[in-house]
């Protein structure tokens, strides 16, 4: 019995390290529950990515090419020249620690290597050794070390524990962006064929079928037809979405998650109602595309090149269909790509027109060059001009809060548009505490392709700060619904809520719009888009509210 630890020992020895162990001496562990499974070789082959093979990150041997260190070194060098961000961020960090406690993965896991500064040091340590003389000279004492298998495993582990949310970059006095460092690190890993399956297989699917889930065109249409059936039952009106229509006014692109996974599907129904309303009342001609049927871009989590390869479809399809401009659905990283990369990569979009909302006459001058408008901007403009017939009382049973998704927040600045739409479609809206919203928003814990199943512990831990903020407004205001403008959020936040704050459900902003929107000739609306009876929902809400507007 004596070799069994006491409770004290058990508690104290979790990390198996004395207090002064240098972080470089703590070996990297690839842990179940944290790590994601390795990429399927078929997907790598389809994309022409290097080193496709069947392997597992839990193996000792990762089956790397013999000259892998050289590949990393040269890839590193190339990227230092191609990306000033990378080079400057390698050089100027003073390790002041301002970012240390800003990362949701650090806050949730307590693992010190999840401090943004250390995540970057994983790469910097190799940079110092390979590219600076002082670093090489002083070695470990100055935080330099040569690339080896241990370091590579550490990279893998921690570069896939970063959701590229940029929260740390907001607090850094030099604007050092760990997302940028993670992006580069993942590019380097991909040179060796090291990617997680949850990223590379959606990428391969998207490349071939047009969307991450690998949904073929007829199935895409079937899904929307089915939503029409549902909407007909709910409203008495059957929207007829248009597909691949040449000469339409607007091409609409949204993440495929909205079409194929609950509760995003209800958001898709909201879009369909909106487009139907606009077509009937104002003659606006919107088309969906089965080719560009994915707004999201997991290529962004792989490499700049892969991102460009997937993103190219949006402009290509807009050109082929001859639309005037593009409207984008609710998605997070999709909007970072559109807002900061698309025009540069695949533009100029000179074959499109300056986006003008023909109904209100509003010119979206902020999208003058990229020619793509966010649906929250579009809908906010319509509501502001009184062009929608809204009855927010159908959302009265909801006490709504809003989760700012990282990418629209810190890579775009989309804050007030969705809040305006929510406020016009719902009676009860409560923001979460100031340090967890807007530019300071916390990640859902599953961004940047980490929304797999096998890393559930990481996702739950990473989402803890977000969940704590939700808990605050639930306790304070009885919030029961969290709205968001991101398909990954809609996919992962229900899991997060069911673990931490089970009373709170998740919705897209345009599901709220759909519920509030009156269609001409509709029958009495007794159900919401989820086909739940409003009377029942209102009844449960009355317990806390004591009034309805019906």
């Amino acid at each position: 019995m004596s070799d069994l630890p006491t409770a004290e020992e058990m508690l104290g020895n979790v990390k198996h390290r004395p207090p002064s162990t240098d972080w470089m001496d703590v070996p990297a562990e690839i842990r179940r529950g944290i790590a994601c499974y390795a990429g399927n070789p078929k997907s790598l082959e389809l994309l022409g990515h290097p080193n496709p093979r069947t392997w597992s990150c839990f193996d000792d041997d990762w089956q790397l090419p013999e000259n892998w260190q050289q590949i990393i070194h040269e890839g590193f060098k190339e990227r230092l020249e191609k990306f000033r961000s990378f080079k400057v961020f390698m050089d100027i960090c003073v390790r002041c620690g301002a970012c240390a406690d800003k990362c949701h993965y650090f806050i949730g896991t307590g693992d010190p290597k999840n401090m943004p500064v250390l995540r970057a040091e994983l790469l910097r340590s190799v940079y110092r050794n390979d590219f600076t003389r002082v670093g090489k000279l002083l070695g470990k004492i100055n935080g330099a070390r040569p690339m080896n298998y241990e370091v590579l495993k550490e990279w893998w582990s921690y570069l896939f524990q970063c959701s590229e949310c940029r929260r740390c970059s907001l607090f850094c006095p030099y604007g050092i962006d760990t997302a940028e460092i993670t992006i580069m690190g993942r590019e380097l890993l991909n040179l060796l064929g090291l990617n997680i399956d949850w990223i590379v297989t959606p990428v391969a699917n998207c490349y071939r079928t047009g969307n991450h889930l690998g949904i073929q065109p007829h199935a895409f249409k079937d899904m929307l037809d089915f939503f029409s059936d549902d909407l007909e039952e709910i409203t008495g009106i059957r929207p007829e979405p248009q597909f691949n229509k040449k000469g339409a006014d607007i091409l609409f692109v949204t993440p495929s998650g909205d079409v194929f996974a609950d509760p995003g599907t209800y958001t898709a129904m909201g879009y369909m109602m909106l487009f139907h309303f606009l077509q009937e009342k104002y003659g606006l001609d919107v088309t969906w595309s089965t080719y560009a049927s994915e707004g999201g871009n997991f290529g962004f989590f792989t490499s700049h090149e892969t991102m460009k390869r997937l993103n190219a479809k949006m402009y290509a399809e807009a050109r082929r269909l001859g639309v005037k401009w593009i409207l984008g659905g609710e998605c997070g990283h999709m909007w970072r790509v559109i807002h900061q990369y698309m025009d540069t990569m695949n533009g100029p979009a000179d074959f499109l027109e300056m986006p003008v909302n023909p109904i209100t006459g509003t010119a979206f001058t902020n999208a003058a060059s990229t020619k793509m408008v966010h649906i929250a901007e579009f809908t906010a403009d319509l509501i502001k001009h009184g062009k929608l017939d809204l009855d927010p009382s159908r959302n009265d049973h909801l006490k709504v809060t809003f989760h700012d998704s990282c990418n629209p927040a810190r890579g775009m600045g989309l804050f007030d548009e969705p809040r305006y739409v929510i406020n016009k479609t719902c009676k009860h809206f409560y923001d979460m505490p100031e340090n967890s919203i807007r530019e300071q928003t916390f990640c859902c814990g599953s961004g940047s392709g980490l929304n797999a199943g096998e890393d559930m512990e990481l996702r739950m831990a990473g989402g803890l700060p977000r969940a704590s903020a939700v808990k605050t407004v639930r306790d304070r205001h009885g919030v029961n619904m969290m709205a968001c403008v991101c398909a990954i959020d809609r996919a992962v936040l229900p899991d997060l809520m069911s673990y931490w704050v089970p009373e709170v459900d998740v919705t897209g902003v345009h599901e709220l719009v759909g519920n509030a929107l009156n269609l001409a000739g509709q029958h009495e609306r007794t159900m919401n888009l989820r086909s739940e009876e409003l009377a029942e929902l209102q009844g449960t809400a009355e317990d806390t509210e004591g009034q309805t507007d019906e």
């Binding site: 508690l11 104290g12 806050i107 307590g110 512990e457 969940a467």
Partner: protein, 175 residues
């Protein structure tokens, strides 16, 4: 009853010591962060420990009420269930209270009657610990449930609603 009064008197010191030792579960640099940052959103681990341990100790003193215990215990265990801890590590923090109490009541425990009270108190700690294990398992089962079902069934349900997977058996999400 003298013993529990003694405990109540030293409550703050005992709880603080308990908190410090549990924080020590984490890497030393993290532990300091857990102790120092007071905001429940920026430091949910530290805050749930702080309020949780104090509440649990209070409950042990008054004779635990299961519901009340749960409100304090659940947040702590729920966090530990998703961190890199073995089941024993995740729940060991409760037993540590025994050592803490012995450290703080060295003199009082020279008295036989106090020792008998200590045994009684110890068994309350034991039950608490068993309850913690129940909660821990509940959390782990939830995690496995999420891993196994939720992700795929979300997509599956959408397809099923659309009648695209009619061939699949009713209750089997097409594994």
């Amino acid at each position: 009853m003298g013993f529990e009064k003694q405990l109540a008197k030293k409550k703050d010191a005992i709880v603080k010591d308990w908190f410090d030792r549990v924080s020590g579960t984490y890497a030393p640099d993290t532990a300091q962060f857990l102790k120092n940052v007071q905001d429940p959103i920026n430091n949910p681990i530290g805050q749930s420990l702080r309020t949780g341990l104090a509440g649990l100790f209070e409950q042990l003193l008054v004779g635990p009420d299961k519901e009340a215990v749960k409100t304090y215990l659940d947040p702590i265990v729920r966090i530990r269930a998703v961190q890199n801890l073995t089941p024993s590590q995740a729940t060991a923090f409760i037993f540590v209270l025994k050592t803490v109490i012995r450290d703080h009541l060295k003199i009082e425990l020279d008295d036989n009657r106090s020792v008998r009270s200590l045994f009684a108190f110890d068994s309350k700690i034991d039950s608490l610990s068993l309850y913690a294990f129940d909660l821990y398992m509940e959390c782990r089962e939830k995690i496995y449930d999420l891993k196994a079902n939720v992700e795929r069934s979300k997509v599956y349900h959408a397809f099923k609603r659309a009648g695209l997977v009619v061939e699949a058996p009713e209750d089997d999400p097409g594994l």
